[in-house]
Symmetry: C2
DNA sequence: CTTGCCGGTGGCACTGGGTGTCACCTACGG
DNA sequence: CCGTAGGTGACACCCAGTGCCACCGGCAAG
């Protein structure tokens, strides 16, 4: 952090550091495995101290999640803006597809990130905490639209099973290099919403 | 560990120690919270050393899971023994209900365990690793019965979403003191299998 | 009875994630 | 020129988890 910050406002420098940490973490974790890399190594690669790493990422696992909070916020906004006459399940379906509509340039990094999250046990475990936020947002939406409590069966079930569908779509997208993420999401949601027609 | 083992075979003593660790862990975690309790405290309460704790539980989180491996094995057996003419989804449904058919005497401890797992963030995260085993078993069953690969969309999706349904049922059972665990499971699976009819 | 093996245990030291504290430095307004 | 505030690094600390070794009990062979 020397010449880089010269002509930079503080917020920009912060964002730039954040991105450098994330890239260093993704690369090191991909190359050597999540457990095999220490935080000191990530911090060194990002040109900061160990202590500063924890000021940007509250957890080692957090380093791979990027701006996931913004992701959740965008999903929440889409759900809130959904047409009132649209079926609830369809609105969740559409919001999941839209929030995961990445630009082509972002796909390689997304692949790297999701491969780590779904492959490394520690990151898979941690993902449950991040996805819990998503579930709360979806459950609140379903509850609002159906007039029941957010912790009732149907809102919770819709939230967890639609997220399960999205996760499955990501797994499929990662394993099969040909299918589009959007196509995988559509397949998974169609199966789920119809009660698994292909099993009858 | 002195007089207790007098008339005991080694395996019995081991099992008795295991149960003591589990009870101590559940009680301490419930009373003070998972993070606030150190392993030394659990070990002391169970009358063993810290090092021995890790010979029984590979992780602090593992202490609350009891004989979950046996659970998974039983589920696998039920799925393997399912009638060939039964619809696949129904066989998964039935196996989940049957494997969670606890004796009344076991319910308090199950409640304590599940409340911790669903309430404590660290345990919720860890649960993902345990449930991954369940998912593999279910996906393998669905794959076998439908003649596709275990990592194809439908087997994975059935596995993750049925587990989501089971988890939701547990949450409902915990929150609502009146409903039976079996009834909650039935409600959740019925919604899921029919594609959320209550939303139409 | 003694010797030697063997499984379970405890003690100890070490690595690594995460936190609290403090000193420093730099940019800013007075 | 001074004072303050926010970001940073260094250090000390706690705790989860691991490797290693020494010990102690039982048990079979001699």
């Amino acid at each position: 952090m020397e010449a880089v910050t010269e002509t930079m406002v503080a917020a920009d420098a912060r964002e730039e550091t954040r991105a450098r940490i994330e890239q260093a973490a993704l690369d090191l974790f991909t190359a050597q495995g999540f457990e095999a890399v220490t935080i000191d190594e990530v911090a060194d690669a990002a040109g900061i101290s160990r202590r500063t790493f924890f000021r940007y990422c509250s957890t080692k696992a957090d380093a791979v999640w990027g701006q996931f909070d913004g992701h959740v916020v965008r999903l929440e906004g889409m759900l809130a803006a959904a047409a009132a006459d649209q079926p609830v399940l369809a609105s969740v379906y559409a919001a999941y597809v839209e929030v995961n509509d990445y630009a082509a340039a972002d796909l390689p990094m997304l692949r790297q990130r999701m491969r780590l999250i779904l492959t490394e046990p520690a990151l898979l475990a941690h993902s449950q905490l991040r996805y819990a936020d998503v579930d709360r947002v979806v459950a609140a939406h379903v509850a609002r639209r159906t007039g029941v409590a957010p912790d009732a069966l149907v809102p919770r079930l819709v939230a967890t099973s639609t997220r399960a569908a999205a996760t499955t779509a990501f797994e499929l997208w990662l394993a099969d290099g040909r299918i589009t993420l959007g196509a995988a999401l559509h397949q998974a949601f169609d199966e789920l919403a119809a009660g698994f027609p292909s099993l009858r």
